[in-house]
């Protein structure tokens, strides 16, 4: 007998084990063909078979070779549990099963830190689920009718002046504006968050963009989409649809060569500019696009060779928030003639309130929004250690920032947007509503959009392979064969349907508290069944 070599990787060391039933298998090969990770292969097994063909028992023993599907015992080609094999199998012969005894995390660092996509798999606790909309209009004031009444569901994006700063003059009983005020756009409180062309397949990005455009043009919902760091298609930038997009600039400045060249040909202004300072999933770390995903069209749009594209952890040349405000905000405001709101996105951090205070007190009044991204945000690629062990929950941070503004009487002057885990359980409207009551003007979400397109990744270690270029759903890959798996139209429709339901659900939450416009900062509408959460957020504790 061969001696066991304990260092050899076995299937039971891996996070997912393939459960295969050879008797159901028709040998069609679909599962092997569909597995992008090469985690299963066709193999031949020796089989011992005993059978009898006579009227009386006359057992005959045979040894035969049969083809089987077998899991690859490899740390490189481990099964991610994506379930594509199960999805394509016509005969329910195969599926991936979670292995609670996995040793993969321990063993997978031979080539340096573990990298993956997705979101934190450790910190998936849900503060928002411990909060209830508990102040229901009964008797004293009537609940509204979510279907019959009109609801004004819009949020500002742009620098809002305090009432006394408005450059108004009364002339014959009417107010006249004496000076230009900072641009403010009233948009839908759900922003499609920044996922770049590159992180997403062009087709997946297109599906999200189509959904955004459809929601605007056909459904009357002014949903805005952030481009992500990686530029935008030139044709889109030169079209009328640009007004639905928030162009992002991050520390790598990827795509800005094209954006700047397109500027003279832009027919309309973009909805905004978003300066990305940090990302909730990997705070303090820059963007990362691994070479596997830098396909020719990504090279073209970003103006780079095929190589791993690492954005620096910070904007080079910015050493302080004052500089950030002066240099980046001013230059980006100036670039669009002070007609386009310029907002900033930071990873949630213990220091978020200080950052927000600095922005509120900036004398130029040019920061048009503060986007706070929490630890439960997703990413296309990051070191696992960053994903699981760095970051900050977003819920209390939004509240802290709002309360800091309230202290100064400056609430609403720099709109607050919260993201990172919004819709994590599938109920984005409830999450958004609670965030708004705590002080957010709106929310942004990314992960849920790609999940609607078909992404099957989750925060329990399923798939999380966005960084590999082998995305089994064709969403986070540039491999044309895989991208074909994605039906762009159906994907876009799924997002549209979800947002329409989101809108109806928001009304369903606004109506019982008797509000026809967004209850920004209406913390009295919320209660919590968790005393610590109630105390921290300043809402009623109930049991």
């Amino acid at each position: 007998m061969e001696a066991v070599k304990v260092q050899d990787i076995a299937v039971n060391d891996l996070p997912w084990k393939i459960e295969y039933n050879s008797e159901r298998c028709t040998m069609c090969g679909s599962c092997v063909a569909s597995c992008t990770f090469k985690a299963i292969k066709v193999d031949v097994q020796r089989k011992s078979v005993t059978f009898s063909e006579e009227n009386q028992p006359a057992p005959v023993h045979h040894q035969c070779a049969i083809p089987v599907i077998k899991q690859v015992a490899s740390i490189e080609n481990f099964c991610r549990g994506c379930g594509m094999c199960e999805k394509v199998c016509p005969n329910n012969a195969i599926r991936a099963v979670r292995n609670p005894d996995s040793r993969k995390t321990l063993l997978a660092r031979d080539n340096g830190p573990i990298k993956r996509g997705g979101r934190t798999n450790l910190n998936s606790q849900r503060t928002l689920d411990k909060i209830i909309v508990g102040r229901i209009s009964q008797m004293t004031d009537p609940s509204l009718d979510s279907v019959r009444h009109t609801f004004d569901i819009r949020s500002p994006l742009g620098r809002v002046l305090s009432p006394k700063e408005l450059p108004f003059k009364m002339v014959d009983g009417e107010l006249i504006s004496m000076k230009k005020t900072p641009p403010v756009r009233w948009i839908y409180p759900l922003i499609f968050s920044d996922m770049s062309i590159g992180a997403l397949s062009t087709r997946a990005w297109e599906a999200v963009a189509m959904a955004a455009a459809y929601l605007n043009e056909r459904c009357g919902l002014p949903v805005r989409m952030s481009s992500g760091e990686g530029g935008m298609p030139v044709k889109l930038m030169e079209s009328d649809y640009l007004k639905y997009f928030i162009i992002q600039i991050a520390s790598g400045h990827f795509g800005w060569n094209r954006i700047i060249k397109a500027m003279p040909k832009m027919k309309t202004d973009p909805a905004g500019v978003l300066i990305k300072i940090g990302q909730g999933a990997k705070p303090g770390d820059g963007g990362l696009l691994q070479a596997e995903k830098v396909a020719p069209h990504v090279q073209a749009i970003r103006g780079v060779p095929k190589a791993t594209l690492a954005s620096p952890p910070n904007h080079q040349g910015l050493y302080s928030i004052e500089e950030s405000v002066q240099k980046m905000h001013l230059s980006l405001n100036a670039a669009f003639g002070f007609r386009v709101p310029v907002a900033i996105k930071c990873a949630a951090s213990s220091t978020s309130v200080s950052v927000y205070n600095n922005l509120l007190r900036d004398p130029y009044k040019i920061c048009g929004g503060f986007f706070i991204d929490g630890i439960q945000g997703g990413t296309g690629a990051a070191n696992e250690i960053s994903l699981d062990h760095t970051g900050h929950p977003v819920v209390s941070k939004i509240r802290d920032c709002y309360n800091a503004a309230v202290e100064q009487g400056a609430q609403g002057q720099i709109p607050l947007y919260g993201g990172g885990g919004i819709g994590m359980t599938g109920n984005a409207a409830a999450d958004a509503f609670k965030m708004i009551c705590l002080g957010a003007n709106g929310v942004f979400c990314g992960k849920i959009l790609i999940q609607l397109l078909g992404c099957i990744g989750n925060e329990q270690g399923r798939c999380n392979a966005c960084n590999t270029g082998k995305c089994p759903t064709g969403i986070c890959t540039q491999n044309p064969r895989l991208v074909k798996r994605l039906d762009v139209d159906r994907g876009a429709q799924k997002i549209v349907d979800y947002v329409l339901a989101f809108d109806a659900e928001l009304r369903k939450l606004m109506a019982p508290i008797g509000n026809s416009s967004l209850p920004v900062g209406r913390s009295d509408a919320l209660v919590s069944t968790d005393k610590a959460i109630a105390d921290k957020l300043g809402i009623q504790y109930v049991c």
């Binding site: 209009s137 004293t140 004031d141 009537p142 509204l144 009444h149 009109t150 004004d152 819009r154 500002p156 809002v160 002046l161 305090s162 009432p163 006394k164 700063e165 408005l166 108004f168 009364m170 009983g173 009417e174 107010l175 006249i176 504006s177 005020t181 403010v184 009233w186 309230v406 100064q408 009487g409 609430q411 609403g412 508290i513 008797g514 509000n515 026809s516 416009s517 209850p519 920004v520 900062g521 209406r522 913390s523 009295d524």
Partner: protein, 366 residues
């Protein structure tokens, strides 16, 4: 639900008229209190219209504290009316020991109106602080030609107690804003009963303000006079004061602040940029929930408007001498039975109605 009312007349009227306006509506309220603000006074205060009038309810010690403070500030006592109550047994009233209505002369001549207004406000706030800290009473208003009376109990009994049924010529005014209920949502506090008063602005509201928390958090930083917040209706007054007195905008913009037009409608307007800026910068003063407002302005004009869904009633009716605003028409029928009812106005959710000092009724849509 409260019922609110107001009377504006060319001839001075008695508080009993205000009571007669309110009592037919009693099914809608619980008769738990009586509160009124009288403006443009006749009767005992007719000769001192330009002198600030202090309205307060207190204990003996409270009265002394106030006197000491006012003397120390060099305010000079001019005239005074101390009601001699009718202490008939079994009256439903939680009376305070003393009710003081006293005119003062300014410590010195102050030419600047704003400084004068600031002095009156600061004095009232200081008196309120003194009385609150010592738990010796309540000060409701300190303003020329304005009298405030508030008490807990049955309005009919309160009127008996203060001899308001007698129509004895002591208290009369051309403008009265009135309400017959204590705040029932929260703790019963005298300060929580509307009408509320601030620097010439009086306001009564019937309804709920579901944006109370938002309003309050914002208003706290806007002005030193925006205090108390014992009732969610105070927000309406503070916003009225802020828009008209602090920002110095005209009345139509008050409506745009508290019940802004939907974005789709703003987009159709010629003044959309202004309206959007207002909606942005004063977003936290928006009022949601069902309500009707009746307000008195420093110059004597009165106005009324409703929430954006018209969830609370109000009616305006009158004749050549008197115009009344009331939650229910039965109140106006009681005091003005012979008016032309066809000319009654039931303002809609976007309408503002202003009654000027010639009793001309001006109405417009937001």
């Amino acid at each position: 639900m409260c019922r609110i009312g107001a009377i504006k007349s060319k001839k001075p009227v008695y508080p009993s008229t205000a009571l007669r306006l309110m009592l037919p509506q009693q099914e809608g309220h619980d008769n738990s209190g009586f509160a009124m603000v009288m403006q443009d006074l006749f009767g005992v205060f007719a000769l001192y219209k330009d002198k600030p009038l202090l309205s307060m309810a207190c204990t003996k010690q409270g009265a002394r504290l106030v006197e000491d403070y006012m003397a120390a500030q060099n305010f000079i006592k001019m005239a005074e009316w101390l009601p001699v109550p009718n202490k008939k047994p079994n009256l439903d009233i939680q009376a305070m020991p003393y009710y003081i209505f006293r005119n003062y002369d300014y410590p010195e001549h102050i030419e600047d109106i704003e400084k004068r207004e600031a002095l009156l406000l600061d004095t009232r706030l200081e008196l309120r602080k003194i009385l609150t800290e010592s738990k010796q009473g309540y000060v409701y208003s300190f303003w020329p030609d304005v009298l405030t009376l508030k008490e807990i109990g049955d309005p009919r009994d309160i009127a008996t107690y203060f001899r308001l049924w007698d129509d004895n010529g002591v208290l009369m005014s051309k403008n009265i804003i009135v309400q017959c209920r204590q705040n029932t949502n929260y703790k019963i506090v005298r300060y929580a009963a509307h009408p509320f008063f601030l620097q010439g602005y009086t306001l009564c509201a019937n309804g709920e303000n579901t944006f109370y928390t938002k309003n309050k958090e914002f208003q706290k930083n806007l002005h030193r006079g925006y205090i108390g917040f014992e009732s969610d209706s105070q927000n309406f007054l503070y916003t009225l004061h802020y828009v008209l007195h602090e920002l110095k905008w005209s009345i139509p913009y008050y409506k745009h602040v508290i019940t802004p037009l939907p974005f789709a409608e703003i987009a159709q307007r010629a003044d959309k940029d202004i309206l959007l800026s207002i909606r942005q910068s004063l977003a936290h003063l928006e009022i949601n929930g069902p309500n009707t407002i009746i307000a008195g302005l420093p110059d004597g004009r009165m106005m009324t408007c409703c929430d954006s869904k018209k969830l609370r009633p109000v009616v305006v009716g009158g004749d050549d001498t008197t115009v009344a605003i009331s939650s229910e028409v039965c109140g106006i029928n009681e005091i003005l039975p012979d008016r032309n009812m066809e000319r009654d106005i039931y303002p809609n959710e976007r309408e503002v109605v202003v009654i000027d000092n010639d009793l001309k009724v001006i109405r417009w849509k937001q």
